[in-house]
């Protein structure tokens, strides 16, 4: 990585020298001074990217950082910010170590190093810390991934979010759950909620339960399981789930505990109509799909998702494949969207002045992005009104890469059938 950035910088410098040479000619040719775009062009525009590259969420953070980097590479390879004389974007890297105070400190460092915009940071708590800092230091902050409603509730002027809010996520879950009941004609009567005990797991499952309750659907929650993040053994919890005899399981998990949960459900032969994640990572990642094979089939999850047919996704995915041999997933795709949205705003702002960037961000209407959803537009709180979720299901396919399919909404769907109720885990 170091080598690559070095090389890019040297090219940048050469281009810059050429440009200044051209500017010299401009001065000679025109007594009125140089054309404004040459005059104003900074060497680079700096964006500070803060992701959890180490710490318990490092697996995701390394992907989101790469998403940021690849999008910047794409923008630069395509002429940079044209309204600013083809100025290149330089991504300054920060590591939150998954800790809010470190994220804040890193953001402050990047601002000092010249970042005109901040980008990141995957976790809601770190996002909160950086959002406050951004407001204190008056630097625009674009959140690529971070769902918690509270972050934008404070009414901060400098904070924008591309990702869906937790409220939007829950609303999507209920919408798709209702559609699922309609399509399949089967109504589960009892359910167990199993969630990881962290901000995301608790907030998500509390919100979903509340909505489910007020929806009037005839469903009874017969057990609520809550387990700590990073748990290594769920055998006792699954025994409890089995004893509660639910029709359907609503998990809100993290990568890692989903594996433990699914294996235990299989071993203990817990019979279920299906598993429906109201918004739960851990059930569709490539490693999970490969390792769990048949056990991974038929799980339904409501998620902010990639849009594989979009040109932007195909570009980003190709670059991602080339870099690490993995597919662009939701988090890295949103991270890939971040710099694109920023570049679009910079293009319209034509300057790195704070007011101009803020104004341009507020007027954003960005369609060429790689995720399921409408055009990116920010409302008065800074939330993206175009953000939406998809319902995905892991379905049998000889090609591992193609097993995860969008089943709802229809306009994005990759498979027209939804398997529900699903065959029992041990009968596959």
């Amino acid at each position: 990585m170091d080598y690559k950035t070095m090389k890019q910088n040297s090219i940048d410098r050469r281009t810059f020298l050429k440009l200044s040479g051209a500017a010299g000619i401009g001065i000679a040719a025109s007594t009125f001074g140089v054309p404004s775009f040459l005059h104003a062009a900074p060497e680079t525009i700096k964006i500070g990217s803060i992701q959890p590259v180490t710490g318990p969420l490092a697996i995701i953070g390394q992907g989101t950082r790469l998403g940021n980097q690849l999008a910047v590479e794409y923008i630069n390879a395509n002429g940079g910010i044209k309204s600013m004389g083809g100025a290149k974007i330089e991504l300054l890297l920060g590591d939150s170590e998954s800790k809010p105070e470190v994220g804040r400190q890193e953001a402050d460092r990047l601002i000092k190093e010249g970042a005109s915009i901040l980008l990141g940071p995957f976790q809601s708590d770190v996002a909160m810390a950086i959002a406050t800092l951004a407001e204190q230091r008056q630097v625009p902050f674009v959140m690529d991934v971070a769902a918690l409603d509270d972050i934008t509730k404070k009414g901060y002027e400098h904070v924008f979010r591309i990702f869906i809010t937790s409220g939007g996520l829950v609303a999507g879950a209920l919408k798709y759950y209702k559609t699922l009941i309609e399509i399949s004609g089967v109504t589960p009567a009892t359910a167990v909620v199993a969630n990881v005990g962290d901000a995301f797991g608790k907030g998500m499952s509390d919100g979903f339960l509340k909505m489910l309750e007020s929806s009037g659907l005839p469903i009874k929650i017969v057990e609520r399981i809550q387990y700590p993040l990073g748990i290594q053994d769920l055998s006792a919890e699954v025994a409890k789930i089995k004893a509660a005899k639910p029709d359907i399981l609503f998990p809100v998990s993290r990568p890692g505990d989903s594996v433990i949960l699914l294996r235990e459900l299989y071993k203990q032969k817990v019979s279920l109509m299906g598993i429906f994640g109201p918004g739960s990572p851990g059930w569709y990642e490539p490693d999970f799909v490969k390792d769990m094979d048949k056990l991974a089939y038929h799980t339904l999850v409501n998620v902010p998702w990639i849009n594989p047919s979009s040109p932007s996704y195909q570009r980003g995915n190709a670059a991602f494949q080339k870099a690490v041999g993995k597919n662009l997933d939701t988090n890295s795709a949103y991270a890939y969207t971040g710099p694109l949205v920023i570049a679009d705003a910079l293009e319209r702002a034509g300057s790195t002045k704070r007011e101009a960037i803020l104004k341009a961000l507020r007027e954003t209407n960005f369609k060429d992005h790689p995720v399921v959803g409408g055009p990116v537009k920010f409302d008065e709180k800074g939330d993206n009104t175009g953000a939406m979720t998809a319902l995905i299901q892991v379905q049998p396919d000889p090609d591992l890469q193609k097993r995860v399919k969008i089943v709802l909404p229809k306009e994005f769907a990759q498979s027209d059938k939804i398997v529900f109720p699903a065959p029992q885990l041990w009968e596959r």
């Binding site: 697996i59 609520r224 399981i225 053994d233 055998s235 006792a236 890692g256 294996r263 490693d287």
Partner: protein
């Protein structure tokens, strides 16, 4: 109360408790001989899990088979930690002993992150998904094997400590350090060997867990904590107590599921811990203080 559920939980608790016991045995051994708490215990175990994982992935050798090789590798690691770090801090005040071992854990954890990344790794071993049914109660095959091997390894270690010269010296050093020096035992070597043995034991326990639990650099803390609690329950430096303490913790954690969310389980363990150190600091199974 659902009696089938209670029985199910009891059996699962006992099975996991055996592995806890084996993890704690290493910690107790190290404490018994040198009087230091190995704050890097969980990290050492995770290193063993990675060794076992890679042997399985690259060579296709099952964790149960590679266990001896992994224990040998981690023995060397433990020996090195003792030689490089712990031997030099044995005479320090206790407050100063804490930091080097905590830092050792930090180093190991981040070496794992550097080398193998943060992914949760979970290989599909031959018996990973097998289970045996006895009426309404399910017994997980890999857990039964883990439990049996844990008991077997514990037995072998006792045999080793009872019968071999090295074992006898370790026990002597554990009982009375100064005495061991006086009768001419090379205590440094005993120390190195004991730390190596303690590390190897916990690595073996790690191998038994590979088919059951996903591996990542960050799972170590919980195991260090569990091992602490078990050692306190069983009595510091009391080796049979470690196994018994493991069973008690396993069962207590498992049965507490009936009344508490898993996120509060550790409150039970820690409360138990406080009560024990206040009223029975020699452990549940120790004699008079």
């Amino acid at each position: 109360m659902d009696s089938a559920l209670a029985l199910q939980l009891l059996i699962q608790g006992i099975l996991l408790g055996g592995v806890y016991g084996l993890i704690a045995l290493g910690l107790s051994l190290i404490f018994g001989v040198m009087g230091v708490i190995n704050f890097a215990h969980g990290q050492i175990m995770v290193m063993g899990m990675y060794a076992s994982y890679w042997i399985f992935v690259l060579l296709g050798i099952d964790p149960y088979v590679s266990l001896v090789a992994v224990a040998a590798i981690i023995f060397v690691l433990g020996y090195a930690i003792q030689y490089l770090v712990v031997n030099r801090i044995l005479d320090y005040p206790e407050a100063m002993q804490v930091l080097p071992l905590v830092s050792t854990g930090l180093i190991l954890e981040n070496i794992a992150l550097l080398l193998w990344g943060p992914d949760h790794r979970s290989p599909q071993t031959a018996l990973g998904l097998d289970s045996i049914w006895m009426g309404p109660v399910m017994v997980d095959t890999s857990r039964v094997i883990a439990f049996s091997l844990a008991i077997l390894i514990t037995g072998l270690i006792f045999l080793f400590l009872k019968k071999t010269t090295m074992g006898k010296r370790i026990r002597a050093a554990s009982d009375n350090r100064t005495g061991a020096v006086l009768v001419g035992i090379n205590v440094d070597r005993i120390n190195n060997f004991s730390f190596g043995l303690g590390a190897a034991t916990t690595a073996a326990a790690g191998c038994l867990l590979v088919p059951i639990m996903p591996i990542s650099p960050y799972i170590a803390h919980d195991f260090t904590t569990a091992a602490f609690i078990v050692v306190i329950l069983g009595g510091m430096g009391n080796l049979p107590g470690a196994m018994a303490g493991g069973l008690v913790l396993g069962v207590a954690e498992s049965l507490s599921t009936l009344v508490l969310p898993a996120t509060l389980k550790q409150v039970v363990s820690f409360t138990l811990l406080i009560i024990i150190i206040l009223f029975r600091p020699q452990g549940l199974f120790g004699g008079k203080k």
